[in-house]
Each structure stands twice: as C-alpha cells, then as structure tokens.
C-alpha cells in the first residue's frame, strides 16, 4: 500500500486552464504539506495543514488554493495556469509538527506541464 499517493502522476494542460491535484495519506498523520520542485530541483514549501487547519501559507499566488476535506486528504487547485507553474508538485505528511514526530513522508510527485 502506498503511504502517500498523488493523482495524476503527469498533467499536461494549456495556459489559462484550471486543474486539481489530489493527495491522500494512509499513515494516520495529522499534518500534510504541498511542495513545489522547480527545474533546479529546489523543493519549496507552499502550504501546510494540521488537522484540516491551514498552518503554513507561503508567498504563493492566489491562483493556488489548497483544500483539506479531512486529515487524510489535501488537494491542490490551480486556477488560470501560467507557463511558470510548470514544475513537479509533491505532497507530504508527518505525524504532527511536534519535535520528534515531524519527519515528513513524500508522495511520488505530479509533473505539471503548462503549454
């Protein structure tokens, strides 16, 4: 069983479209995250939710909106896609944010290509 899963694996779309990426974790973790990995391989935090509550919201365009229907799911919706949004997006989860329980486990990534 995959611990942190994301769908789709690949997403190719046109500029201006709206798309969503889904993430689910079956580890029973309280905290989930979205990261963006750019072409230079830097991983940058975008959002974090703890028990469905937003706790980290980095300087990300308003076109990006996370949604957490329950603590096992954290979806990412992107409006009006732009060329610069092309990247690999990773979902992650951790038991909590407490020291000693904050190791993050990552999903396989979603490669988004905007044409």
């Amino acid at each position: 069983d995959t611990a942190v899963s994301q769908t789709p694996k690949y997403l190719v779309t046109q500029m201006g479209n709206d798309k969503s990426i889904k993430c689910e974790q079956n580890l029973g973790h309280d905290t989930m995250y979205w990261y963006k990995q750019d072409s230079k391989k830097f991983l940058k935090i975008m959002f974090s939710y703890n028990n469905k509550e937003l706790i980290i919201n980095e300087t990300v365009p308003n076109r990006f909106s996370p949604k957490s229907p329950d603590k096992a799911h954290l979806n990412l919706h992107i409006n009006s896609l732009e060329l610069g949004d092309s990247a690999v997006y990773f979902c992650a989860s951790s038991p909590s944010t407490s020291v000693g329980y904050n190791e993050q486990f990552f999903g396989p990534g979603t490669r988004l290509t905007v044409l």
Partner: protein
C-alpha cells in the same frame, strides 16, 4: 532567514570509495535537521533526523552527524545502488522545512 547550502553539487565515486556530503545551515531555533534521498522521478525518501549538535545516526552504509553549523552524510564503501540525489533540510521555529539544492551522487561499479 533560514538557509541551507549543500556541497558538492555533484560527486562521482568508485564502488567502495568512501566520502562525505556537506550541509551547512543557518536557522532560527533548530527543531531538526533532516536527510532525504531522492531517486529520479520519485519523491524524497526520509533517511535521518538529527536534533542537536553531537548527535549521530546510522543506517547501513550511511552515517549522519550534526554540529551547530553543519551536518555531514558519510557514505562508507558505497555501492551503485546508493546513486541518488541526497537532500538536506532544516526545520526552525517557523515549522517550515527549508531544503538545500542537493548533492547528486553517482557510484560507479
């Protein structure tokens, strides 16, 4: 501002040739330093967490150490299957995980 710098950017080793990867960091209120391994086309895989200077952790051929300014990932007698990108990250008082750009390791048979 929290920052992580990894060196070298790339490292080529012969099988069995031991070496070390460096992770220098500045962070406000260190909550943890993390090492991950990332294979091409996959998500980062958790390796170690270090919480305080002087701490060491080992897993198979890998050993991670921590000082107040840097961490080292020592690879002893590496095998080709150890080839991957190794990522270092720190978590400070902001709870955010700040990643370095990684070290690409290639181990030749």
């Amino acid at each position: 501002e929290d920052q992580v710098t990894q060196s070298p950017e790339a490292l080529r080793l012969q099988e069995g040739e031991s070496s070390s990867l460096n992770c220098s960091y500045t962070v406000s209120g260190l909550r943890g330093l993390f090492w991950y391994r990332q294979d091409p086309g996959k998500g980062p895989e958790f390796l170690f967490t270090l919480y305080s200077a002087g701490e060491e952790k080992e897993k198979e051929r890998l050993k991670a150490t921590l000082t107040k300014k840097e961490s080292f990932l020592h690879i002893t007698a590496p095998k080709p299957e150890d080839s991957a990108t190794y990522l270092c990250a720190v978590q400070g008082s902001s709870y955010k995980l700040i990643f370095g750009s990684g070290t690409r390791l290639l181990v030749r048979p």
